[in-house]
Amino acid sequence: MSLYQIFIEPWERHASAYWPILAMAFFVTAACGLVGNYLVLRRISLVGDAISHSVLPGIAIAFILTNSRSGPPMFIGALVAGVITTLIIEVLHSRTRIKQDAAIGITFSTMFAIGVILISLHGSHTDLDLDCVLFGKLDFLSSKEKIIMGLPGVALTMGMVALIVGCLIVLFYKELLVSSFDPNLAATIGISPRLVHYLLMCILSVVVVSAFTSVGAILVIAMLILPAATSYLLTDRLWVMMLFSLIHSFLSAIGGIHLAVAFKIPTAPATVVCGMIFFVAAWIFSPTHGLIRYWFRSRASVNGECIN
């Protein structure tokens, strides 16, 4: 593996595909990463995983009915599936002795199983098959999409989604902050934490569904959590954390493309691997919360005890 292959080749040989894929990858990771901040802080990261798995039957049914991967029907199908999942989890958790983790596990795996069965019964299809569920189709982006303003249509849509998510977060920054930090306080000052939670879940579903065709159902969780978790290790302020997660998204999108071209692997998992590398780097080297500092501190405290 030469440096040429990693750093230069993607620019030279794949120039026409480079920018659209980079734009798409960045929009996906940015939209996911922004929402992901709140998932991490509210300790519901795995709900993102659950939703991304459980919208699959909705997407599959919409696809089979309309035979296209285009927007609205898939959104509706996915949203219905997502709502059903949320309701089932709620019922299982509140009405039986099943704990929340098991309720989530049962529900999303069932929905996902239904989705996989539907897709495989429908026969192998170039647009929606099990490969798409696993790897996403980030690399096949530019082949047949209409180009608008130099970007393929799907990337533009994803960009819009990311922008809307960003705007919503800026607008409702205060509400999201207080209901994530102290839901009790939120309730007592008239901001219903339930309402905020469901709005967040709606945004999450929209993001997950729009990301589905690019990154599949399973890798979404990485796009959601890695940027937020990385920046959580680097700062103590919420808005800085969101800024850092955008930077993380951008860097891992670029890194992902170069890795993908160099190793001839799909871009989506490569982006995740790249994001993970950044996370590990932050984990080790973060000036405030990094491993190096952690070891240093714990050694210092051991020494302190000796003196005492």
Binding site: L41, K174, V178, N184
Partner: protein, 258 residues
Amino acid sequence: MSTEDIAVPALEIHDLTVSYQKRPVLYGVDVTVPAGSLVGVVGPNGAGKSTLIKSVMELVQFSDGWVKVFGEDLKNNISRVGYVPQRESVDWDFPVSVIDVVLMGCYGRLGLIRRPGKEEKEKAHAALKKVGLEAYAKRQIANLSGGQQQRVFLARALAQESDLYLMDEPFAGVDAATESAIVELLREIRDQGKTLIVVHHDLGSAREYFDMMLLLNMRVVAFGKTEEVFTGDLLQQTYGGRLTVLSEIAEKFAKEQS
């Protein structure tokens, strides 16, 4: 009950019954708190003290009874009530600074979307100053001691500028000096004509801190002026364990209801 000539009571709780996971925590609690009083809620562990104020804030569901705040349902008067939760109820690793937390007290008045402006920031700083934490405004909240964290919550409640305060163990994990400073602050708030209901676990100090006391043990054992209520007999009834028949039957009943 000895009420002054204040027409509308600050808080009226009528026959409140609350069960948690099929166990009764409160059973038929009936209390009317006059405005302008500093009330201590005392009782043994598991007596339902925290649950009582949480159900006033509608943070727990009750199976029976109702609550009125200044003669209205809570949702009509929610801006007049401030709640100080226990310290453990939030994640102190959350990426916010002390002043951010205090500013949250103003969020209720701001309504949707609007940002806290200069006025709110001044109020928040004033509240921080009152609890003696103005030097810590920019710190991340994990870097505070337990007592300081408790005072951040108090400052946040002050910034809320409510008429009725419900506080869940504000003295927990606080050193003696801070504790007396907090008591001073509570009295000051009371002297402004506001009402405070404070859950407290230490019977000894409760006597000197509060004007009125609510002795609670799943039911209201007594409620009234501290000197009237603080009798050996009533305290014995409060702390002498639950009434076995009552708790057995209440438990059975809570199970039947589910």
